[in-house]
């Protein structure tokens, strides 16, 4: 407990930056769930693909070790775009291969879940065994090891008393919030966004109103995947390493965040991510970091016991969206 009080600000900042990444990944789960009522279990692998795309981009730039100023902003944008394209693209392919045929059969959601788990295993192994050794010129058996990618020297940008904010955490929080706002505007203000909301609300009526559902589903996967790709760029900035199963635990946490905030609800994903990140860091301050994940899941169970539809409730269907 003393640990938490004396180190309150560092834990809070860590919690916020962790929560911001959870929230961005959670968007993918929550959007797909809102439209398809499907837990896209392979979304964690979409995130993983994003981290490797970012890493590949860094390699293309010759692994810059200490970027600063405008160069950093430019580099971050390039990395985020690379991650977003790779993740968004693979999410669309995933939907096309693993989910669309099932939707055509009118298969149960359980079958789709199994298909997702299969796709998740496949993608993890594909990267560990084939893609990573090939792309980074490693011997085959090293593909499953973590790969580093350090490109920003960490330094404190704000320093008030015990409140210290380092540059990487600041960028992560600002970047994530920026993306969430952009997405919120997109879903609420554009025609495609209206189509997504309509489909989430009532697919049959949406079809009757001239919404092309296949296009909406593709767009949903693309946007959710792109958000995971941006999250991957921020994750690489903050944690500087990745491996083939990096998405597993993060994916579970992000899904937890989505459920915590109210699945299907975009703003809920932000709230859920931040709450989860904060509780995790405070929990690890009090009980020790080995209990971090237990705290996260206990929070989930407790919240759901008292608010069974999450903090903000399920509402991609509602106007909130």
């Amino acid at each position: 407990m003393n640990n938490l009080i004396s180190q309150f600000w560092p834990y809070t900042i860590d919690g916020l930056s962790l929560g911001a990444i959870y929230a961005l990944v959670a968007l993918g789960y929550t959007m797909v769930y809102g439209v398809l009522r499907l837990i896209n279990f392979a979304h964690s692998e979409i995130f993983m693909i994003g981290t490797f795309a970012v890493l590949g981009m860094l390699h293309l730039f010759g692994m810059p070790s200490n970027v600063g100023g405008f160069a950093l902003v430019g580099l971050l944008i390039v990395l985020a775009v690379a991650g977003g394209l790779a993740s968004g693209g693979s999410a669309v392919i995933l939907e096309y291969v693993a989910y669309r045929p099932l939707r055509r059969h009118g298969a149960s959601r359980l079958a789709a879940l199994i298909s997702a788990i299969g796709a998740s295993l496949f993608l993890q192994q594909l990267f560990a065994r084939i893609v990573v050794p090939w792309a980074f010129d490693l011997p085959k058996e090293k593909g499953a090891l973590p790969i580093q990618g350090h490109f920003v020297e960490k330094s404190d940008v704000i320093h008030i008393g015990s409140f210290e904010l380092s540059n990487d955490r600041l960028i992560v929080i600002v970047g994530a919030v920026l993306m969430m706002v952009l997405l919120d505007v997109f879903v609420n203000r554009t025609k495609l966004g209206r189509g997504i909301r309509a489909t989430a609300q009532d697919p049959e009526t949406a079809v009757l109103m001239g919404v092309n559902i296949d296009r909406i589903v593709t767009a949903t996967f693309a946007i959710g995947g792109a958000m995971a790709g941006v999250a991957a760029a921020l994750y690489m900035l903050r944690f500087e390493e990745t491996r083939f199963d990096v998405g597993f635990l993060l994916g579970i946490k992000a899904f937890t965040a989505a459920v915590l905030g109210g699945i299907g609800n975009l703003r809920g994903a932000l709230v859920g991510g931040i709450v989860l990140g904060l509780f995790e860091m405070y929990g690890s301050a009090i009980f020790g970091s080995e209990w971090q994940n237990v705290v996260a899941f206990s929070v989930l169970v407790l919240v759901l016991m008292f608010r069974p539809t999450g903090i903000l409730g399920e509402s991609l269907q509602q106007a909130r969206a």
Binding site: G34, V35, L36, R37, L38, I39, V97, A98, Y99, P101, L102, R103, R104, H105, G106, A107, S108, R109, L110, A111, A112, L113, I114, S115, I117, G118, A119, L121, F122, L123, Q124, Q125, L126, R129, K140, T199, A200, P203, A206, V207, I213, I216, V217, F248, F255, V259, I263, E290, W291, N293, V294, A296, F297, S298, L300, V301, L304, M305, P308, T309
Partner: protein, 395 residues
Amino acid sequence: MNDSSSGNPLTRVRGAYSSATDSIRDRWSGAPSWVRWLVYAVLIVLALFLPADGIGSFMSPYTDWPTLLFFPIGGYILLGIGLNVVVGQAGLLDLGYVAFFAIGGYAMAVFGVKFGWSFWEILLVGIVLSALSGIILGAPTLRLRGDYLAIVTLGFGEIVRITANNTNYIGGPNGIGGIPHPPSFSEWTIPDNGLFDALGIGGVQPFKYGALDGKPYYYLMLLVIVLAIIFVKRLENSRVGRAWASIREDEDAAELMGVPTFKFKLAAFAIGAAIGGATGVVYASQAVSIIPTNFPFILSATILAAVVLGGSGNLPGVILGSFLVAWIPERIRGLQEYRVLVFGAVLVLLMVFRPEGLLPSRRRKAELAEGSGGMGSMGAEVAGPATVAAGEVSE
């Protein structure tokens, strides 16, 4: 959606497979009871001769076949039977089933090593303990529905594994070693002559649980599996089974009809957990040592895949699915590092071509034709051939 008129060869193969399984099922449900008992007896006798070397050399060229039959194959089948109670019968999505397996395994390890109890005592205690933990998990969470329940159970599975990892009393990340084997009943040896030798089980001591021979453990697992099947089958045809089916189909309607849904959901959780715990005890009694990483999330996912793949709700289907999911990765061990890759692709392909599972129950099949599958369908359905046809009629 058997669209055989389309002429697509793939669709035709699928249609042929469906009608073949249908006709077998029809014949089975029309068969007199003595035929059924005969088939059961034949199946059990066949299972007794399954660990023979001749079968093993084909089924498992890379690993010891009897040990493989014990775990993963036997273990997955038993876990599949248990999870099927929760997922297939009561329609509750459980993504943390491995937790009960772990609790059974640790019960065997702790009571066997620290208290010196014997296997049979621990089997009972392990079953009671895991059923209790099922109730403890279920009581606060079973008011949740669908995917919320799924994620909470997933969290529970992780909590159990991490707690085992962080608790020094049960060995932390090093787990517990030196778990005793079950006490041997007798040294009786199957006579090593003509007939038994030809069948490949001559010279086996089926009731002596040593460190080397996997066959006695397989027979032990087989016994537990048969008992579990009888138990679950009896339940399925009872009031409890009907209540589960009604909850699975429509929970609100069931509640309105006076089914105490919460009580029955809790019962499904406890019974599923008990079977998972039993598997854990039997597994640990052979494994000598267990560590927390024996119980990863992916095992829960794999068992769930086995249940759905085989045809959730239908016991023969579940057993077939579990067998395949356990056996395929071992059989293709020759592919070395690519086997999980292939396994993942196979899962996707099987779901794409046969989403109702290999041997679906009749009821589930009917549900699927209606488009709900008993688990609710996905939201945005694409207009398939059926809906297009309906549109053409109105034209």
